[in-house]
Amino acid sequence: MTSAAFFSYTSLLPPLIILSSLIPGLLIFATPEAATRQRVLLNLSGIALKLILVAFMLFGVSQGQTFRFELPFLPGAPLVLHGDSLALQFVTLSSVLWLATTIYAIGYLEGSPLRSRFFGYFSLCVSATVGLALAGNLITFVLFYELLTLATFPLVVHRGTPQALRAGRVYLAYTLGGGTLLLMGVAMLHSVISTPDFIPGGYLLALTSEHSFVLQTAFALMIAGLGVKAALIPLHSWLPQAMVAPAPVSALLHAVAVVKAGAFGIIRVVYDVYGAEASAVLTLTQPLLWLAAATIIYASIRALQQQDIKRRLAFSTVSQVSYITLGVALLGPLAAIGAIVHLVHQGLMKVTLFFCAGNFAETLGIHKVQEMDGLGRRMPWSMAAFTIGALGMIGVPPIAGFISKWYLGMGALEVGQDWVIWILVGSALLNAAYFLPLIYRGWFGKPPVKGWPENNFTDRRFETHWMLLMPALFTALLSLLVGIFAGSVFSPLGWSEFIITQEFAL
């Protein structure tokens, strides 16, 4: 690579996107606790810069440009950042939701201690997520995957309570264990074919006859490693425990960063490392399909029994993220569209639900399902956003979740796996069973006679702090709009179809 090419804008854009949150993050660590204004400025300018850069890259990729950055790292495995269309799906999601979550977090943590530490790690976490999305090969992916684990741990234990520390330990045990398995799988593949770039259709097809055992073992190891973050059963139990973290962190963990990193990794491994064809030849995906289906049903049933709102949402995440895995494992173009678009849709809806759950807890001290009676009268806007998110999760049109479900179902029929329809039907029924009671209580229940457990922000113009309310309304509106205008080119669905035309060479 010549130096001129090295400094061209197409090669510098990917690292700049990562640095746009990394540098503000490091600077935030250095800001004194009292310098709120400075910290907010750093946060917001970082976000603004990142959004501009991402918009540039989106435009470039849609025009057919390639963005690639490379540094020598290991023999046969350079450090590669590559902004392809799939990466951008995840980068855009992370950046937009980072904006919402940062604003939310500023409102949420107003006046609480250790904010410099929190926002510092928060920015690092997003940098790692974006890096993971832009990673151009497996080694780079693993690097950012581990960085993400390390950056999120301080956020999970942020409150420092014994419960939080315990959740943190469990989180670390699971994710580091998963990271090790992933690394072993990547090393195995590296020993066979070194580490080339991710490429649509994969690079292992030629090796399937000779190295089938190694490829299958490596696949199992990598999926087990990624499955920890993607919360496939039986590796999911860190997720409900990590609920003790502050609401913005839960939102980030569930909607964007951690679980999506796992799901995104599975997409990369199946489509860009093994490729649909090789996966079919090696019969890798059928067990994954069963596992994903079992996770969807199991986690939905567990969600029914949870009386804590956030825990219920956590099990719902376990179930919903497996939709992505399910769609990937079906190995058909329509199902793949469903999987990739659900990456975004689930993110938007789940972040809305967590924002709202946080609003209920912060404003009225409500944590349990039973306490939600009559919420709609005190907090109509939050409750409306919550309703949109919950109905979307059930799959009620025209909210985003329906679009994903539709494509997954049509994709399952397309590849002849008709039984998956029943998984979707069962999941929709269970989703309705654990979400509708919340909506019922909120809108039709009678407010408690004794008053709410707490009653904050009564002097504000809105029902709660505006920085808590606006992000929830923003993401709720987005999940409605991307569902209604799914057919337009700029929707996540349109972009997913664009990705799939490349992956399946249609």
Binding site: F213, Y298, L304, W406, M410, A432, F444
Partner: protein
């Protein structure tokens, strides 16, 4: 040339009104205005001939609106019924503390109902169907009483079930049609019994014919009267309309080795329709609650509509004629049943003062009741005559006696409803609310006006004036009325059925809810019991007595070598 963008305003107008309702302070005058005015675009568009609009920005194949007569007629009638019921609701709910909530759910349901009528593709239909189905829950439980909550639970459970079954069937159907969402392209797509069964059950749960009717007699009495009026008059028709769209009879001759076709189910489903027609009457006659009797009458009437749909599977060449009959029947039933449900509120809320008022109310009430029995000069005679004209076909003639018998039965249940409605007057001493009376009267005269307003119906109406047709239409009504008169004379009372036996499914619904709240599955969580690992480690250390580090390192090296031996042969 009128812009086809008008079609967008049809479902959008209620949503715009919804925004206004949410922003403005609650007021009953505004509510009546919003609820009725938001139907105006639908009425206007159905009057004009407007080509369908293609909405690819929503999804591929999204298309709203049609120049077809049946779509326009159904749209106009549905919008008119909603508008009248909406105006009535604005006044009847005026003392309601939750007027705003009522309006919100009403408007969403209205928007969904209008959308599913103008939908030309399956997804648009499904969107409208879910909007309507789910927000109708808010209307069913609106009163907040425990019986309303119970009814709502059963309604919602079945509505959600119906919706996911419909979705599953719809996916299979779209897949079989090579991904086409347009109903117009479906009549040539292959159909398998599973998809057909899913669609019949999914849509049937909304349509409310026997045996899928279980929510209907529970939900109607619980909802406020105007909501029952649109529920029975307009919303349950969506299920039948959906069946018509999703399961068009196959017009092509299928290959000889086809194992199953929709035609094979035609006779069984027609039988279900007839059973439903009788079941509704028998069950309804044993009830004492006015709205329940009316609800069972709806179950009975939906049986006829199902009968017509299933008949079209057998007579694909008569589809056009059957479509018109179906729409005539649906519209006729919608107006008449809507008027009766509103009467259930009106007669309870105020007592007629003068003799003239009493007379007017009794006569007005008789119109929809007689129309539903199939009396001459009403839309009922038109509906029944046009249906019978198709049964002249020799293949169909065996159904004719059943239809005539069920016409007698219909008269009986409507006589009972009439009796119970009039008896409601005893319960109140307040004067009749005049505005509501006028709005209701407008709906009551529809069964007489309708055949004159709509040319298609007018043609059939002329035929019914032939003497033998007159006789044909009158005798079932006369028999029914005489039986009712005798029953009155001898003070015959139907047996009282204990409340818990009336609706066994309410108990099942509660059982399901309780069961779901219990732990169904054990936690499947890998527990990291660090203490047990720690004891293992201690034991390990003690075992090697000082040489632990070396031994552990040796073990690790051994592990790496074994791993390398396993992996490397594969890679060379």
């Amino acid at each position: 040339m009128i812009s086809e963008f008008l079609w967008i305003t049809v479902p959008l107008a209620p949503l715009m009104a919804l925004l206004l309702v949410m922003v403005l302070p609650a007021s009953e005058k505004l509510a009546a205005l919003f609820l009725s005015v938001s139907c105006v675009p639908a009425l206007v568009v159905s009057w004009l001939m407007v080509a369908a609009i293609d909405l690819a920005m929503l999804w591929d194949g999204a298309s709203w609106g049609s120049e077809q007569l049946i779509v326009r007629a159904l749209l106009a009638a549905t919008a008119l019924l909603w508008a009248i019921a909406g105006a009535y609701a604005g006044f009847s709910q005026r003392h309601d503390a939750h007027l705003k909530r009522f309006c919100i759910f009403w408007l969403i349901a209205l928007s969904g109902n209008l959308l599913l009528i103008i939908a030309q593709d399956a997804l648009s239909f499904y969107v409208g169907f879910s909007m309507m189905s789910l927000s109708a829950y808010g209307l069913v439980v609106h009163n907040g009483t425990s019986s309303a909550r119970r009814a709502g639970r059963l309604y919602l459970q079945l509505a959600v079930l119906g919706e996911v079954l419909l979705l599953a069937g719809m996916m299979m159907r779209v897949h079989a049609a090579d991904g086409s969402l347009l109903f117009a392209e479906w009549s040539y797509a292959p159909l398998d019994p599973l998809a057909a069964g899913l669609l019949i059950v999914g849509l049937g749960l909304k349509a409310g014919f026997w045996p899928l009717h279980i929510w209907l007699p529970v939900a109607h009495p619980a909802a406020p009267a105007p909501a029952s009026a649109v529920l029975s008059g307009a919303m349950i028709k969506a299920g039948i309309f959906g069946l018509w769209l999703f399961l068009p009879g196959q017009e092509i001759t299928l290959p000889a080795d086809t194992l199953w076709q929709l035609r094979d189910w035609s006779n069984p489903v027609m039988t279900v329709g007839i059973i439903s027609a009788f079941f509704g009457v028998v069950a309804g006659l044993t009830r004492y609650d006015t709205k329940q009797v009316l609800a069972y009458s709806s179950v009975s009437q939906m049986g006829y509509l199902l009968f017509i749909v299933a008949m079209s599977w057998q007579l694909p060449d008569q589809k056009e004629a059957l479509a018109i009959i179906l729409v005539i029947y649906a519209i006729h039933h919608g107006f008449a049943k809507g008027a009766l449900f509103l009467a259930a509120d009106l007669f309870k809320s105020g007592r007629a003062g003068s003799a003239m008022q009493i007379g007017a109310m009794l006569v007005l009430l008789a119109i929809p009741a007689l129309a539903l029995s199939g009396m001459v000069f009403t839309s009922g005679a038109v509906a029944k005559t046009s249906l019978k004209s198709l049964l002249d076909n020799p293949a169909m003639s065996l159904w004719l006696p059943w239809l005539q018998a069920s016409a007698v039965a219909s008269t009986l249940i409507l006589a009972r409803a009439y009796y119970l409605l009039v008896a409601l007057q005893e319960k109140t001493d307040k004067p009749v609310p005049i505005k509501q009376l006028l709005i209701w009267a407008a709906l009551c005269v529809m069964p007489i006006l309708l055949p004159w307003l709509w040319p298609t119906m007018r043609e059939v109406l002329w035929q019914t004036f032939a003497p033998y047709k007159l006789f044909e239409a009158v005798w079932p009504v006369l028999i029914g009325l005489s039986v009712a008169a005798l029953a009155m004379r001898w003070r015959w009372r139907p047996p009282r059925i204990p409340a818990h036996l009336q609706h066994p499914f309410l108990a099942l619904s509660l059982l399901l809810k309780r069961r779901l709240n219990k732990a169904l599955l054990p936690p499947l969580e890998l527990e990291f019991t660090t203490t047990s690992l720690r004891t293992l480690e201690r034991r390990w250390n003690r075992y090697w007595q000082g040489g632990t580090v070396n031994r552990s390192a040796a073990l690790l090296v051994l592990f790496v070598i074994v791993a390398a031996l396993v992996i490397l042969p594969g890679s060379t």
